[in-house]
């Protein structure tokens, strides 16, 4: 593992991505305690302010400090994005490995369902699920997780098919292990590498998707300072104070890029020959 980290840091993408992600994680964990103001505190005299000594990144229509809101929102945005990816990855990995292990008709049916689901545009599919479940942050998380599952199942299956042919799987079948043990304990640990890479890149999509849902009013609800919601709330005031949109928008972009870079770096680090 330390060897992997060293190789990761040697790639510029990996180092930059990791640095930004670590900074974002610090924001998410310690955000509310290092914030200069409460994210919901009004400053009526300083509405629509630009960056200043008192309010580093400016203020919104109620005079709330954008920097404090950004810090508070990091938790909602980042953790929900990670949780959504984790959900989608875990479900997809188990499904894909199971499909590869069982093979035959089961595999065929599962993969055709995956094809059908993947034919629906991802955002549309997410919107559909949220509409059925009802608008809330947690439901947005679940929706994104479900929307990620088919893609992850696809990726996992292709890796698992090669693992399936290994003799240690044959040995497990021959000594009478249960299908559950073979899928979870023999095969999954060996398909984890490519999945981790795919999952990191997908966190970026999850950040974007969460922001999109919140922007459309289907994710986090006011007065939350989830970043997508901040952008949505800034829309009517775009011409009075552009900072309201620039600050959360930039934060979303930065985190998305960071996870993309990190994923690229990780892929290179896991494949030293490429």
């Amino acid at each position: 593992m330390p060897d992997l980290l060293r190789r990761l840091l040697r790639t510029p993408q990996g180092a930059i991505g990791l640095a930004i992600i670590l900074a974002a994680l610090v924001m998410a964990i310690a955000g509310t305690s290092i914030a200069p103001y409460s994210p919901e505190q009004f400053h009526p005299r300083a509405r629509f302010g630009g960056p200043s000594a008192a309010f580093w990144l400016g203020t919104d229509q109620f005079g709330r400090d954008l920097f404090s809101r950004l810090l508070a929102g990091a938790r909602a945005t980042l953790f929900y994005a990670l949780a959504a990816t984790l959900l989608g990855t875990a479900a997809g990995a188990v499904l894909g490995t199971l499909s590869a292990f069982l093979g035959g008709l089961v595999d065929e049916v599962l993969m055709r369902i995956v094809d059908a689901v993947m034919a629906i545009p991802n955002l549309l599919f997410t919107l559909l699920i949220v509409t059925v479940l009802g608008a809330s942050g947690v439901n947005a998380l679940i929706a994104i997780g479900i929307a990620f599952t088919p893609g992850m199942a696809r990726v996992t299956r292709s890796v698992a098919l090669t693992v399936r042919r290994q003799d240690y799987v044959a040995a497990a079948i021959a000594r009478g292990e249960s299908s559950g043990y073979i899928v979870l304990r023999e095969m999954l640990p060996n398909v984890v590498g490519p999945i981790v890479v795919e999952a990191t890149i997908r966190v970026a999509f999850a950040v974007m998707a969460l922001a999109t849902l919140s922007f459309l009013g289907l994710g986090a609800q006011p007065p939350s300072s989830e970043w997508g919601l901040m952008v949505a709330e800034a829309r009517p005031y775009l011409f009075r104070n552009a900072w309201m949109m620039i600050v959360p928008g930039f934060a979303i972009a930065l985190v998305a890029i960071a996870f993309n870079l990190f994923g690229d770096g990780l892929r290179d680090a896991l494949n030293p020959r490429t």
């Binding site: 093979g103 035959g104 008709l105 065929e108 049916v109 055709r112 290994q166 003799d167 240690y168 044959a170 040995a171 497990a172 079948i173 021959a174 000594r175 009478g176 292990e177 023999e186 640990p189 060996n190």
Partner: protein, 530 residues
């Protein structure tokens, strides 16, 4: 006699500090074949690469010249070397499908050699190519030239590779395990072809192989390499009959000799069969949603039985169905017909219950692939114990230690992972795993084919010791006839999915034998001087 290729006191060290070759000297006169024998890691392939000047970055050379005729190859630039490779030194590698480009026809590849090194053009080159293919024993050369590598068999491909190696009429040939990837009979034909062409053209050849018996047949002189050093160099039959060095003696002793039996007892022929296959047919092919399964038959109507404590050898070339049967008996392939374990008759894989799976264990060819790389040795060995229970009154940890001791590995290995062990050690772990279930039959599917000959001898000795103590029967599958004749009580011969013969080890190849069996026996290289 003029020396074509000579290496004098040559040493090679790789970037990591690993010494591949230490003070190696050899010389090959015109028209002679020098065999280079060594186990994996002995530096024999490094030697070939050093001569061909395919050295990786950071390799440090020391010592004397590598001369081809009067030229010192070490002083040449890569561009000059390209003129020599293929033209003055020809090469034949182990795997013909890897040394041929899959996207070009065989004709394009052979004609390219003629164009590049002989300056032939158009119809002239084509005629010459056809003549070469006829010379290497390919019947329809015009058709063969139009084929792609995947449309030809392994033997045909290796013939084409040999044709292109001889095409430029080189002074010297390097052959690196040219028959290892081929079937016994095909390998023999390729060897005979090489010997014929070599005598005809008078080319000097360096023949690299791990197979001492084979090299002693092909070569005039043999050099034995061990850990980068030349241990012994002598006339081929001398090395085999009267090895001078300790290492060579051990190597020669480890080579299986069909006339030396390793198993003395005979199983009770009146005992009830332990396991029997009855008219077993195995078909391959995966059904899809819209298509019935395409039916490829891996094995047809095979009937055989194993008695308690018996070693039943199964031999045949690749694709003969011997592994197919093994996997069906281990419950890995669906089959038609029936398997009988004791009094029970089993007709489906799903009917193989816990008792069956416990009684019949399998060990695979490649230990690297059959041990999960993410599990520690302790965990690998704990699974059969968890499924079938440890022996009475013994804790899981002690049971694992006992298993490791049984296969002569230290108990501390339980904490290690498969990649930290050598090939021989991982195969011992796989054997320990099979014996953890205390089976009555262990199926050994080519378990020594990926091992060096000295390691193979140790693994075989271990198997025989375990059998002596526990009375386990073996279904021993191999392509090595010499080996199986040393240990098996009876031998089954498979050919194209069918069981063509099943006879006692002693009478195999007798007048009553099947034609294929006799062809197989004739093709096997027996050590020179035996």
């Amino acid at each position: 006699m003029s020396i074509v290729l000579s290496v004098t006191d040559y040493s090679l060290t790789y970037a990591g500090g690993a010494q591949a070759l230490i003070g190696v000297s050899l010389a090959i006169p015109r028209g002679r074949v020098l065999g280079v024998v060594g186990e994996s890691g002995s530096g024999k392939t490094s030697l070939a690469y050093a001569i061909m000047r395919y050295l990786p970055a950071g390799a440090v050379e020391a010592g004397g010249p590598i001369r081809l005729g009067e030229t010192d190859l070490r002083t040449l630039s890569q561009a000059q070397m390209r003129e020599i490779r293929g033209a003055r030194i020809g090469m034949v590698f182990q795997d013909p499908s890897a040394s041929l480009n899959p996207t070009l026809t065989l004709g394009e590849q052979l004609i390219e050699v003629l164009t590049r090194h002989k300056g032939l053009r158009g119809a002239e080159a084509r005629d010459r190519a056809e003549a070469l293919l006829v010379r290497v024993g390919l019947r329809d050369p015009a058709a063969m030239l139009r084929r792609y590598p995947h449309e030809a068999s392994g033997g045909e491909k290796q013939r084409v590779v040999i044709a292109s190696a001889f095409a430029a009429e080189p002074e010297c040939l390097l052959l690196d395990e040219p028959t290892t990837a081929l079937d016994v009979i095909t390998a023999r034909q390729i060897l005979d072809l090489f010997a014929e062409l070599q005598a005809e053209t008078g080319v000097a050849a360096l023949y690299i192989s791990h197979d001492l018996a084979l090299v002693s047949r092909v070569a005039d002189r043999v050099t034995v390499l061990h850990r980068g050093r030349v241990v012994e160099e002598d006339a081929a039959d001398e090395v085999f009959r009267a090895p001078r060095e300790d290492y060579t003696r051990r190597l020669v002793a480890a080579v299986p000799r069909p006339d030396v039996r390793l198993v003395a007892d005979t199983p009770d022929t009146t005992a009830a069969p332990l396991l029997a296959a009855e008219d077993m047919t195995v078909r391959y092919g995966r059904p899809s949603l819209f298509r019935r399964a395409p039916q490829t038959t891996g094995a047809r109507d095979v009937s055989l039985l194993v008695r308690p404590g018996e070693i039943l050898g199964v031999v045949g070339e690749s694709g003969s169905g011997k592994s197919t049967i093994a996997r069906a008996l281990a419950g890995l392939n669906p089959f038609e017909g029936a398997v009988r374990l004791g009094a029970r008759r089993i007709e489906r894989t799903s009917a193989m219950d816990r008792a069956y799976r416990r009684a019949v264990q399998i060990v695979f060819q490649h230990p690297d692939a059959s041990l999960n790389p993410r599990h520690s040795i302790g965990r690998i060995l704990s699974r059969p114990l968890a499924l079938y229970g440890a022996p009475e009154g013994v804790g899981r940890g002690d049971a694992i230690a006992a298993l490791l001791e049984e296969v002569q590995l230290p108990a501390s290995y339980a904490r290690r992972y498969p990649h930290q062990l050598s090939g021989g050690e991982t195969q011992r772990v796989a054997i320990a795993r099979a014996f953890a279930a205390r089976p009555s039959l262990v199926i050994c599917d080519e378990i020594t084919s990926s091992l060096d000959v000295s390691i193979q001898a140790q693994v075989i000795a271990l198997l025989l010791r375990l059998r002596e103590r526990l009375g386990t029967a073996y279904l021993f599958i191999t392509h090595d006839l010499n080996l199986v004749r040393q240990i098996a009580h009876r031998i089954a011969v498979m050919y194209r999915g069918e069981l063509v013969e099943l006879s006692d080890a002693g009478t195999l190849g007798g007048p009553a034998s099947h034609d294929y069996t006799r062809a197989l026996l004739q093709a096997v290289p027996t050590p020179a001087g035996v």
